[in-house]
């Protein structure tokens, strides 16, 4: 490579990294505890385990589960009902003052799936993992925060690509993985930066890009509302929104009947972001690691409990669904999450050493530029 193009790539690498490094460091550090959020919540006591019962204990009627939530938070409505595949004995209710209240107003109620008794009213806003989550997702700034972090993610990807281009000329005379210790601190960290950077390329690119896609989740939802959802509920145009939805249990049963072999992942209540004003949207998932992420919404008329329509989600929603496991690393058990954490730590070291190298090189350049006073 010509010296001039090396200089150009070097400048690209320096500036794309410099702009995003502080935010990427924040993302890597807050992301680390999020990999283990279940364990941390257990440890800090911010998670209530459902009491042990025989595995074949029958499930409580879903309408009773919803009633239990409403009794705990009088005057509020349920926006979403969520089943966590890792917690088969509890049901999550997302409650808010009205069906259209923004996400910041949502409060969670955890109900025992077998007894319909309230287990817990977790406070996500003040829990450790809750704060880490908000910092990681939108730095407490909503959609603009998300889009900003997404832009930082794109710079991170540009920094990786330019770093790969520079790896060649840098390593011309060095064997792979050489870490020159005992010479200068700068050489040591440069070698380490190159080693950890090049070994984590693909993982960092995948986690970076899927993170960027995740920042567009709200946009994907809006697009789907205008595109496919609008088409599906066109026959209901002009009708007043359903204020008192009918039986949830009946709606979920209708969705199960329409999608054999699939299980409900969550239900969006009428008028919420993920449904129409007239429907329960029952999002069904498959049972393999791949299909469990690809959700298919069954729209159930909230008054009659009958299936209106069920369609595969469009490609941009599939891209979002696939980006989630690849960003979270939660699809291969605890060993995969540990590897995920180690790669995250390696990335923190790459970012930190990159920052150090920039400072050290500037300092060295200044020393050369300023004449040293005679002793």
């Amino acid at each position: 490579m010509r010296a001039a193009s090396i200089r150009a790539w070097s400048r690209i690498h320096t500036w794309t990294s410099l702009i995003c490094t502080v935010f990427l460091l924040m993302l890597c550090i807050t992301g680390l505890p999020l990999i283990f959020h279940h364990e941390i919540d257990d440890l800090l006591g911010s998670h209530v385990e459902p009491p042990p019962m025989p595995a074949d204990t029958p499930r409580a009627d879903l309408d009773r589960v919803v009633e239990a939530g409403k009794a705990r938070r009088p005057g509020e409505v349920v926006q979403y009902v969520v089943w966590d595949p890792d917690e088969p004995d509890s049901v999550w209710l997302s409650m808010a003052p009205t069906p259209t209240s923004p996400p910041e107003t949502i409060a969670g109620v955890v109900v025992d799936a077998r007894t319909a008794e309230v287990l817990d009213v977790p406070n996500f806003r003040t829990s450790f993992t809750g704060i880490m989550f908000r910092l990681h997702v939108d730095i407490f700034a909503g959609l603009p925060g998300k889009l900003f972090l997404g832009a930082m993610g794109l710079l991170f990807v540009a920094a990786i690509v330019s770093g790969v281009v520079l790896y060649g000329p840098f390593m011309r005379r060095l064997g792979f993985g050489t870490v020159r210790a005992g010479r200068s601190r700068r050489l040591y960290w440069l070698d380490l930066h190159n080693l950890l950077g090049v070994a984590t390329i693909l993982w960092a690119l995948v986690v970076g890009l899927t993170g960027v896609i995740n920042t567009w989740a709200d946009l994907v939802v809006r697009l789907w509302q205008r595109d496919q959802l609008a088409e599906m509920v066109a026959p209901y145009r002009g009708q007043p929104p359903v204020e008192r939805p009918g039986s949830l249990a009946q709606a979920v049963a209708a969705a199960r009947a329409a999608a054999p072999g699939r299980t409900p992942s969550f239900v969006a209540f009428p008028q919420t972001q993920l449904s129409s004003a007239h429907h329960y949207a029952v999002f069904m998932r498959g049972d393999t690691p791949l299909t469990s992420r690809l959700l298919t919404p069954a729209l159930i008329d909230a008054e009659t409990g009958a299936l209106t329509d069920m369609r595969r989600m469009p490609w941009y929603a599939v891209a979002l669904f696939m980006s989630q496991p690849l960003h979270f690393g939660d699809y291969g058990g605890t060993p995969l999450r540990i590897v995920w954490a180690l790669l995250d730590i390696a990335t923190i070291i790459v970012l930190g050493s990159g920052l150090y190298l920039w400072v050290a090189r500037r300092r060295a350049a200044r020393r050369l530029a300023v004449p040293v006073p005679a002793q």
Binding site: V164, Y167, G168, M171, R172, L174, F176, G177, T178, V179, R180, A181, G182, R183, L192, L195, L196, V198, A199, T200, I201, L202, W203, V206, T288, P289, L290, P325, L326, Y331, G332, G333, P335, L336, I338, V339, L342, L343, A346
Partner: protein
């Protein structure tokens, strides 16, 4: 060319690992974390191996 042999191999293993755990459970999960774990082991080995001064 030789410069890119190891990086390409590590990227390939990372890719296999990332996809394997997504495709299935049990053995696929093991294949997933084991291949994605190779770059981690290589980093650890190169960093901590006996220091060769100079070169």
């Amino acid at each position: 060319m030789k410069i890119w042999l190891m990086p390409a191999l590590l990227a390939l293993l990372s890719g296999v690992g990332l996809i394997a755990a997504l495709v299935g459970d049990d053995l696929w999960d093991v294949l997933g974390w084991a291949s994605l774990g190779v770059p981690v082991l290589v980093m650890g080995w190169c960093w901590l191996r006996p220091v060769r001064v100079g070169s």
